[in-house]
Amino acid sequence: MATTGTNHLQAKLVLLGDMGAGKSSLVLRFVKGQFFEYQESTIGAAFLTQTVAVNDATVKFEIWDTAGQERYHSLAPMYYRGAAAAIIVYDISNLDSFARAKKWVQELLQQGNANLVMALAGNKADLSSKRKVETEEGKAYADENQLFFMETSAKTAQNVNELFYEIARKLPKAQPAQQPAGMVLTDRPTGDRFAIKSTCCA
């Protein structure tokens, strides 16, 4: 979940999506500005942080980049529990990954945090010659489910920062911004049963 200081926000962000869709690559591009043709497959999940500044506030993302293989999905609740934002990633050159992304969207919609900022990312946009999912399809699905949508490429960096910054901008709106520093945001509706315990140390 996101906790605030005066103008410092810590936000748990989770990435979900099919194996090989490019979750780790997107995170690595965003956090370290790197891209590898062969990115290690993720087991369980990887944790990274990155801080960005938007409208004279800073947002520190605590990013959980999860594993995509089907059987790992049973672990997902542990990673999205209490998240402030989620990026659901698919690979535009792979139809199955789009189907998988839709399932993730549905699972997240049902997990109960009404303020979860959700983004749908159609990754590998550089592979236009192999495209299987049209931009309009992704966009339409996102609109229908009130997610915001971007086509990205971890390889060329296209829209990667934009994606994370857009999430950062949407976050403060999702939470009342005028909380005194150090206070815990328990007044917002949330399905996270641990919300009350949440401590703030921004």
Binding site: Q10, M19, G20, K32, F36, Y38, Q39, E40, S41, T42, I43, G44, A45, F47, T49, K60, E62, W64, A67, Q69, R71, Y72, S74, L75, P77, M78, Y79, R81, G82, K103, Q106, E107, L109, Q110, Q111, G112, N113, A114, N145, Q146, P189, T190, G191, R193, F194, A195, I196, K197, S198, T199, C201
Partner: protein, 398 residues
Amino acid sequence: MALDESSKLGWVLRHGTGKGYGWFRKGAKTKLRDLYSFSLEVSEEDAAVLNDLKERVKETARVWRAIEESKGACWYSQPEISSLSDSSLVSSLSVATLANAMHLKKLIRKGIPPSFRPRVWMAVSGTVTQRSTVPDSYYSDLTEAVKDKVTAATRQIDHDLARTFPTHPWLNSPEGHRTLRQILVAYSFRDSRVGYCQGMNYVAALLLLVLKSEEDAFWMLAALLERVLYSDIYSENLYGCHIEQRVFKDLLMKKFPRLAAHLDLIQFDVSLITTEWFLCLFAKSLPTETTMRVWDVLFSEGVKVLFRVALAIFKMKEAELLSTKHVGEAISIVQDTTNRAYDPDILLKVAFEDLGAMTMYIISEHRKKQQPAVVAELEERLQRVNSPRSNRPTQVLL
């Protein structure tokens, strides 16, 4: 398969600066290759630890060679040390055999020299025995029979070959890919219920680097999945993995109640990071030689070693962790600890000397206790995911 023999000796030292392993730390970095040809970029301090380790490994090799000379080759073959905890078996052993086994157990805790690992691992894990029950051609028959088959598992394996330690020179060669593929594909047919689970690729890759034999690596992988690790750790829903995670949390609470309570307070569910440890047997988290040292004891003493090592990592940073106020801070501390655990002896000392008793019996009891909760948890998610979609809720009850 022929692994480059000289590579394991390469400690190519080169100075440089920049980001790399432990990139969050500033200062001069040294580039080097570890004992298994993985390239690292480490601080001067860590480079010194690694160099010292290299000397100690040489010394251990001298000790093992001396013992071999006096006791004869394969003195470590009998009996399986893990059976030492089985008192009925122990009483049936002669004093001499028993003494031998105790000696071996102690030696293994101090580390098996890399050159001895293939033979010793195969012997103490019981792999040699297991293999003797099937025809010699078992593995070649299996690989031949499944050669051109395409399944969901083979597709996922193909997808992961180039993504398994991609920076390693041999693993990233066509021969490396081909060898790793054969092992994983063969295993996916040997146990089609497990098929292929991501994580097995890292384990198989390190087995290959150590054993330098495709067939031996296959059998060690089989030994791990079928006898050493808890069953179903890699199977559908990772049922066994869920159980082990809960058992680990139980043990953490029992051994370090104050720490467990604090981590709970800052909402640090330790499985967020320990899941990877149990699925890759630390292959992705600890430095290579440290991982190998954990595996030495894992094969000789059994799965409780994983719990000991995992607990030791938390124990080593107990004070620091107790002063954390936020989950991100705590995670960074733990990750920094595992990434930089270049000295295996420090970690193993804590694991075996500072944690008190922990028997297989206790672990089994905790597993039994956790089964209903895991079944319920998995069931609950399935129902939620499969239930007809609800519209995005506007108000949710706390």
